[in-house]
């Protein structure tokens, strides 16, 4: 069969080979991007809660301290989600009949817990402890973002292991004076490097990257 292949076959086969290579590379690259994407990490997406609770209003607007609701944040690994009772402290008086708070009142009446949706959710094999981080001068905002500007709360950071390690390796870039831990609008000073270094010494912050620091 003389000259079975047309002249175009040359370009076709070469393009095909090239395309294969490019395709594989692209897929790998896109995959890598995807697993790091805010979407995949569940970042920046406000969660719909049974009660449309607004940190923006309560923290930003009314200026309620984090610890008013998250009572155990300084004492325990778990920062605590406020019991219905805490809501009713105020809402038995104000907005006492607002339809938006129906669920809360119902919960208070029936004693059934409000079913909040978890926003910051680490895998079960990760053991994070709020108390120690707060104690060492890591601000709420450092991990949770400007909650005071969130009408509905979302996850501000990726919470990947990389992200954790970044701070565990360079605490001096993130640590702040203890008195500012609960400030939402704290802006690190220009000399954060020096201040950080100083606080790291003062608070005896260790650079803990052992596996058992978080995985047990």
């Amino acid at each position: 069969m003389p000259q079975f292949f047309p002249r175009t076959a040359n370009s076709i086969i070469r393009l095909a080979l090239l395309a294969a290579v490019v395709a594989i590379a692209t897929i790998a690259w896109l995959g890598a991007l995807f697993v790091r994407s805010p979407y995949e990490m569940g970042q920046q997406t406000p969660r719909n809660q049974p009660v449309p609770f607004s940190h923006q209003h309560h923290v930003g607007g009314l200026g309620i301290d984090c610890r008013y609701c998250h009572t155990t944040v300084e004492k325990s690994s778990f920062a605590n989600i406020p019991p219905t009772h805490t809501c009713m402290n105020c809402h038995s008086e104000m907005w006492a009949v607002a339809p938006v708070l129906k669920t809360v009142r119902q919960s208070y009446r029936t004693g059934k817990s409000i079913d909040w949706l978890r926003v910051h959710d680490l895998p079960d094999f990760v053991y994070f402890n709020h108390a120690i981080h707060v104690h060492k001068g890591i601000g709420c905002e450092t991990c949770h973002g400007r909650v005071d500007r969130m009408p509905l709360t979302w996850q501000a950071n990726s919470l990947t292991m990389n992200w954790c390690l970044n701070c565990h390796r360079h605490p001096e870039d993130f640590v702040r004076p203890r008195e500012h831990v609960f400030d939402m609008d704290y802006t690190p000073p220009r000399d954060q490097k020096e201040l950080g270094a100083k606080l790291v010494r003062e608070y005896r912050i260790q650079r803990l990257t052992s596996c058992s620091t978080c995985h047990r």
Binding site: M1, P2, Q3, F4, F5, P6, R7, T8, A9, N10, I13, R14, L17, L165, T209, C211
Partner: protein, 178 residues
């Protein structure tokens, strides 16, 4: 047929010796643009047919590249990316890094040899004028071809063309450049 449609004059032989002899004389005659086709590598042609062999250099450089890549990767990962105490061994336990270095050296070099050869030969190339010649099918079995390409300046001289017929080929045919 009009000459611009011509790709080359094909001389067909049935033995390597005839081919070698013909190629020698073609070369001595002063032809420059010719190519020889054989069903297996004929050693003697290497001296006759001009051309260099850059494959070894490619392989060497790729091998070096592989070695460096491996060492850098292992050192970076073990010492910088996540320095961690494994069984009380130092971070840079270089003796343990040797095997992978070797393997990557070989891997890179081998791939270079393969791809290098294809690139040099301009393969893959499915369509080529020589395939226009029906007899060429036997070039991969028991026939030997000497092709003097049309673009060879000597081809414009009619005598030279006729001279080719006297080289004792089984057949002399024209290969179209379709």
């Amino acid at each position: 047929m009009s000459p611009n449609l011509l790709y080359a004059i094909a001389l067909e032989f049935d033995s390597p010796s005839a081919l070698v002899k013909a190629t020698k004389s073609v070369r001595e005659r002063g032809f420059t643009k010719y190519e020889v086709y054989s069903p297996y590598p004929v050693k003697q042609l290497d001296e006759i047919v001009p051309g260099t062999d850059p494959v070894p250099l490619m392989v060497l450089s790729a091998g070096v590249l592989g070695a460096v890549t491996a060492l850098v990767m292992e050192y970076y990962i073990a010492v910088y990316e996540y320095p961690i105490n494994v069984g009380g061994r130092p971070l840079n336990s270089w003796p343990s890094f040797i095997p992978i270095t070797f393997e990557l050296t070989v891997l890179f070099a081998a791939i270079a040899a393969f791809i290098g050869m294809l690139c040099l030969a301009g393969l893959p190339l499915l369509h080529h004028p020589v395939f226009n010649l029906p007899e060429f099918a036997r070039a991969s079995s028991d026939r030997f071809f000497l092709m003097i390409e049309e673009r060879d300046p000597m081809m414009e001289i009619v005598e030279e063309r006729e001279w080719l017929n006297k080289l004792g080929a089984l057949s002399v045919s024209e290969v179209e450049s379709r």
